[in-house]
Symmetry: C3
Subunit: 266 residues, 3 copies
Amino acid sequence: MNHLVTLTTDFGNGSCYVAAVKGVLLGINPQISILDLSHAIPPQNLRYASYFLQACVPFFPSQTLHVVVVDPGVGSERAILYVELGEQRLLVPDNGCWTGLIEQSLQLHRVIRVTERRYWRPQVSTTFHGRDIFAPVAAHLTLGVDPTLLGPETSSWVELPRPQLVVAGTSLTGEVVFVDDFGNLITNIPGHGFRQWDDRAVQILVGDTEVRQRVHHYAEAPPDLPVALVSSMNTVEIAVNHGSAARSLHAGPGMRVIIRLTERAM
Amino acid sequence: MNHLVTLTTDFGNGSCYVAAVKGVLLGINPQISILDLSHAIPPQNLRYASYFLQACVPFFPSQTLHVVVVDPGVGSERAILYVELGEQRLLVPDNGCWTGLIEQSLQLHRVIRVTERRYWRPQVSTTFHGRDIFAPVAAHLTLGVDPTLLGPETSSWVELPRPQLVVAGTSLTGEVVFVDDFGNLITNIPGHGFRQWDDRAVQILVGDTEVRQRVHHYAEAPPDLPVALVSSMNTVEIAVNHGSAARSLHAGPGMRVIIRLTERAM
Amino acid sequence: MNHLVTLTTDFGNGSCYVAAVKGVLLGINPQISILDLSHAIPPQNLRYASYFLQACVPFFPSQTLHVVVVDPGVGSERAILYVELGEQRLLVPDNGCWTGLIEQSLQLHRVIRVTERRYWRPQVSTTFHGRDIFAPVAAHLTLGVDPTLLGPETSSWVELPRPQLVVAGTSLTGEVVFVDDFGNLITNIPGHGFRQWDDRAVQILVGDTEVRQRVHHYAEAPPDLPVALVSSMNTVEIAVNHGSAARSLHAGPGMRVIIRLTERAM
């Protein structure tokens, strides 16, 4: 039995809602080991949550249970899903917040709609399913409840539109998919090949701004100048050493990023 | 022996003071399981702390020890209390920060003034009792020290004034008791009955602003419009879907909220 | 075997980078007990990190492993160090972030340059050594890997310049070394003796502003007035009760603080 339960929410760091979720989890199974992943997902930001999970979930030990409460539809008809994906287990609202994990080539074993009220708190509020449904269901799973008892298996769920990547002739057009706390812009443009290109042979545009320098790591970059490098997710990243690329370039998720190869690069 | 110790402070997320408290706890008893509830209680805000504890403490397993360091009087003559309340144990400054828990009908088993220096750090600073008194006392409790050794039992302690709720004829006058990280306004007006009232039969005022729509859950609300619903604490809540009611209505804790029933509702 | 691993980073509260580090740690050794110290070290602020570690690391149980990722030089030639200091173990970038601990009179047992790639992740990015080197090395250490296998012992490393303290005749000149989340200014001027001095016999200057009152604890201070007291690190501290001394005095780390004793104090 893996007793590790991770929490990812948009409740805010130090929110009483996070504390209540922890109380309910441990109140049902005091052996649970709770690990905070984040409570600072920007409110209701499903794309952020999706990228966040993609960047960390695959590293966890087999059968870890990841509880994700980024849930603008709380109280409505939206479903709650129990998912087995690769070696990980998820408990998520059916709003696409786990799309980033689907995009990776992890094997999807099963998806269950959580409908059986027996594992919920007796009184379910319309505003706080994290406490009233997610936490008690997660706790029961760690106690060994068979997931098939949670509800019926399903083969349809909500997915977010995937970020676009267009290859046309010698240009690659992608977008910023994530801005980290340093203000670095993470794109969906693959980073392989990037290291080999000749500096004069490639043009990089973030929106309308040209990023003229490429580096291997942050410290190599002159201060205040936007540079391109390969991110830890192996995609193209735009950064400003000791500064914020997001602020310098007025850029955020969804902003178009173009890489053009000139003849030299071919 | 329950080795679970929760921490609630106003030290700030990532404060070195929190880290020092954790070090002292584990330095005395490495078996302690530390759970962060919040370190983002607004500085010295006892009312916030009081509501916070009320919203989460009752869910924890029996004999959990909750250490609360929201302590503007640190170093002064204010006492430190060890409390057994319902199935929970608290270590709190005697400044009323646990009033919210007293208001609930949990049974108060005993309150002890923590005076015995044997369980404190040898040198006690005047500015950091979290590290020098709360942490070592909590650690010793988890080692099985009998609470009666901590100091004398007491029957008097500080309580915060309780939020007012006035029922006069057909109107209920309460107040905002808490603003969560989404900007939702939680009031002390009971939510039962609320769902039955006819929309045209009830008038809701937050300060001088009328809230014209009631919903069952957030997603039902049109964007940018303040709505009323029943909170997860089963009281009346004012929210703005994908926005902040606190900002929209310039409202915060203590603001008056009135619900008037017209003839239709009677 | 002590399975406690603490994390101190500048990744930001709730960063996906912190979550990834946790995943890698537990993915290699699910028995690790992870404790967050801080993820809110100001970005790339080595002096802050240094003071932070000094204020909390010494309290932890023997053989705790403290992983510190405040690492502006990530990807460059800067080394990574494994350190045994007093009863504590550290895994730190070689950039001086642990200087505060060296200043204390803890015994330095050994310092090893982490060079053996066998304990790293197979693919090492240039931007995220926290995930690709620090986490797997730490996890292997908790599994009992002999530190001498990590790389060669070394006797040279980077240290930050130490804050100045000048004693000249009857005046002590030091500086603000840390600002906490309350805005309190912690200096490097020793606090012993401070309590004995006669109020009229000592003049305290923070930059050009005179601090006219001394107190024993915060609650003793009138609101809005800067006061001096002895900090929890036993040095002189400047505070504003229910306010921020940093804001009131426009002060931050490095600002000069002078204490002059008049004849009365001698």
